[in-house]
Symmetry: C2
Subunit: 461 residues, 2 copies
């Protein structure tokens, strides 16, 4: 269906929802290009990495306690933890831990974090209903496709207005993925999307607070529930997305209808997915790259620094000029902190953006020495850092495409490293190597849930 053929009748009748649903119902593993299959596995390696990092974060501890009072059984694993819970709770809690640090993946056109809601729902399902690795990967790819196409159709207005797009679109992705994994037909997938369409909460206002995690968890949990309801014949409207009072029209003033179905099966949203090398706002990535490179230069030491000049797109300054941050979370979007901590320590992991790191007085002292130089001709994935020493010497490093951008994606080995490092950070005693090994050949796995048995905290079998 092309943009110019979308008329009012097609919208009213639900032609777009039906096309998407038919695509989900009919697409097979053999239809997925090799690059898409590969990206799915990369997304999952990154998913387990970030979920393991946050497994014992205070937000998760509290949520596991309260949600745990309402668990029907112990069929499902909490990544990196020893408690067990039921399918719906596991979907919610694992999506929360994968997203709580905003260190998960980013779909570039929408800034949706696509994997957390979809993968958490699918793995929770897999622990009760047999799915192969191949089957889960296929369902995952299709869930992300639906989630991100809906996101494309309401972007950029939807997020700018204040909707937390990972939550609001994630529920559709989880519903479509679970519907595929359960083998639902076209009509039931339309219902699953309808059942998802009434569960689209999430606000940007809550970023940086525990509340945010509720809606990310809901996206996974409620998408899963939406599909299970549809499987039992719980029916919805014909046009939950494009109808007169459907999701797209409440989510955006002028939805891009064609984004839902254009080049379906030819363009894959998962190929626009990226993975963060550092737990920071993405505009800081090239700055951190440059600082890490500067650290490898032997000509200077931290105490020699007289001034630092940061050159980049004005967005860099607008988003990250924050000299007086007080919490680890704030430091993730502070150029002053990022530059100081990376030049000082030569690392940019979660520890470098913690409350403890922020409290380091030597890092705070550097903040006043940093100067932004705007240059609107630079792309946002590039930046230059120059240090001017007390001696007057100037050393600069320019990064053209930040690590982790679409132009310079993290290598598989870097993603595996991230998994190792974050598993260690999260202190969950999971065998990161075994987990990584299984994920890289996940399409050969007979039972997708086997991965979850590796991902739970050890020593409690």
């Amino acid at each position: 269906m092309q943009a110019d053929s979308i008329d009012a009748n097609a919208l009213r009748s639900g032609a777009l929802t039906r096309t998407l649903s038919r695509f989900v119902a009919s697409t097979q593993w053999r239809d997925l290009p090799a690059a898409v299959r590969n990206e799915a596995k990369r997304s999952l390696v990154n998913y387990f990495a970030v979920a393991l990092a946050a497994a014992h974060d205070p937000t998760l501890d509290k949520a596991v306690t309260v949600y745990g009072r309402f668990r029907a059984d112990d069929s499902a694993t909490l990544i990196g933890r020893s408690e067990r819970t039921d399918m719906l709770n596991a979907a919610a809690l694992n999506a929360m831990s994968a997203n709580v640090y905003d260190f998960d993946d980013t779909h570039i056109p929408t800034i949706i974090h696509p994997t957390a809601p979809v993968a958490a729902a699918l793995f929770a399902l897999a622990e009760s209903h047999a799915i192969s690795g191949e089957g889960l990967l296929l369902a995952f790819v299709l869930g992300v496709e639906v989630e991100c196409r809906i996101g494309n159709a309401v972007s950029p207005e939807h997020y700018q207005r204040g909707w937390h797009i990972t939550s609001t679109c994630g529920v559709f992705g989880a519903a479509a993925a679970v519907a595929k994994a359960r083998g639902l037909d076209e009509q039931a997938i339309v219902w699953a999307l309808g059942n998802a369409s009434v569960q689209t909460g999430g606000l940007v206002e809550t970023l940086g607070t525990m509340s945010k995690s509720i809606s990310v968890g809901n996206a996974a949990r409620n998408g899963l529930l939406a599909a299970l309801l549809a499987e039992d014949g719980f029916s919805g409207p014909d046009a939950p997305l494009e109808g007169e009072r459907g999701f797209l029209r409440v989510a955006a003033t002028k939805p891009a209808w064609h984004a839902l179905t254009r080049e379906l099966g030819h363009e894959w949203e998962l190929l626009k997915n990226t993975y963060k090398p550092y737990p920071c706002g993405v505009v800081l990535n090239p700055v951190i790259d440059a600082c890490l490179d500067l650290r490898r230069d032997a000509r200077w030491s931290f105490d020699d620094i007289e001034q630092i000049e940061l050159t980049g797109h004005p967005l860099l300054r607008e988003r990250t000029d924050r000299p007086g941050v007080r919490t680890g979370r704030e430091s993730q979007v502070s150029a002053q902190h990022a530059v100081a901590v990376v030049l000082s320590r030569g690392k940019a992991g979660l520890e470098e953006f913690s409350d403890a790191a922020v409290a380091d007085p030597s890092l705070r002292a550097l903040a006043g020495r940093l100067r932004f130089i705007d240059d609107a001709s630079w792309p946002v994935e590039s930046a230059q850092v120059a240090i001017v020493l007390r001696s007057g010497e100037r050393i600069e490093h320019r990064v053209h495409a930040a690590r982790g951008s679409l132009a310079a994606p993290l290598a598989n080995v870097e993603l595996a490293d991230k998994l190792h490092q974050l598993a260690a950070y999260g202190r969950s005693r999971v065998d990161a190597q075994a987990l990584s090994d299984r994920l890289w050949k996940f399409e050969t796995e007979h039972d997708a849930a086997a991965v979850m048995r590796v991902a739970r905290a050890r020593g409690l079998d």
Copy 2:
């Protein structure tokens, strides 16, 4: 806080959310005017009536089956049914049954159905945590106050755009009510509202489908969960309602900020609540009243009717000119069906707006004989029905204020009748008299949950 004193700083700092939360935390039973206490009980009588009617509706049967797979325990009652479930599921499922026929109450300024989300959450809580009748009524009043004030602040744009306002605002009402019932302090109530603010799904597009019930259930369930999380210290933003990316700004282009707090404690939203005498769109109420009055006239019989003239506000025609309806649900907004069935049978209950009633050929034959006469000077709660007989005789009846409107509210005895009739309709073998007796003196009840023991299906103790 007055409208003109609400500046940008107050919005950013969360002054409105804090004022509302303080009001919820500090208001006591003695602060409630007698009329408000009374209206709370009337709302609950109506709540149990409509929930009993739908207890075995197919939507509920399916939801009880699927949700029942994920129940942690059997601590809570499903109104009119024999199964038991856990607190969160009971909140969801009882809110669904109270709302599924749209026969529940209506807050006039917003068309929110206020009671279903709030009462369902509170009674589910009460079955696990001791609350008195007085305590539940107080929490209910405050929950409805928060729910409807938020609704006022985003109306009419929010619903017109396509958001199902009962769902999107109901979650705040349930959160505030449960927070009060649990005795949370001002700060924790701010958090509860923040935890609710990320769970505001629901679409008008889904009206008439099963999907709609999911979001009404979620409003109760997730509001309850939001408060329980806050009680455990799960924290949210300072300004979930009025912040730059908070609920009011995503929900409406120009929120009416002052609606949140103006005359708080002096004007009570519950006093703007109404109860439907008929299971139809409210604009049909005066038409049905007129037809019932005409039936009492002995001068004509159904087969004598040559023509019917319906005079009223143009909205009556716009909303209800539907001659060819095919389902009971559609018939609830069809003037042709309503006039025919009421003139023919002299009743206007759920059976008269069922699939079976719609299929009656003698009723369908009358549709072509109905003519609308618009008169924009008439208020929507009035209408005139004139029948012209084959003899040429004309008999008309005009209704100035429909039964169930704010100007002609249902009497307590009529609400009790509704409870009896709908309990019978739902075939749930509940002692409607005992239930009604308890509710009318609910403030004297030591244990609010005692009512739920009466409201469950009998014969299974």
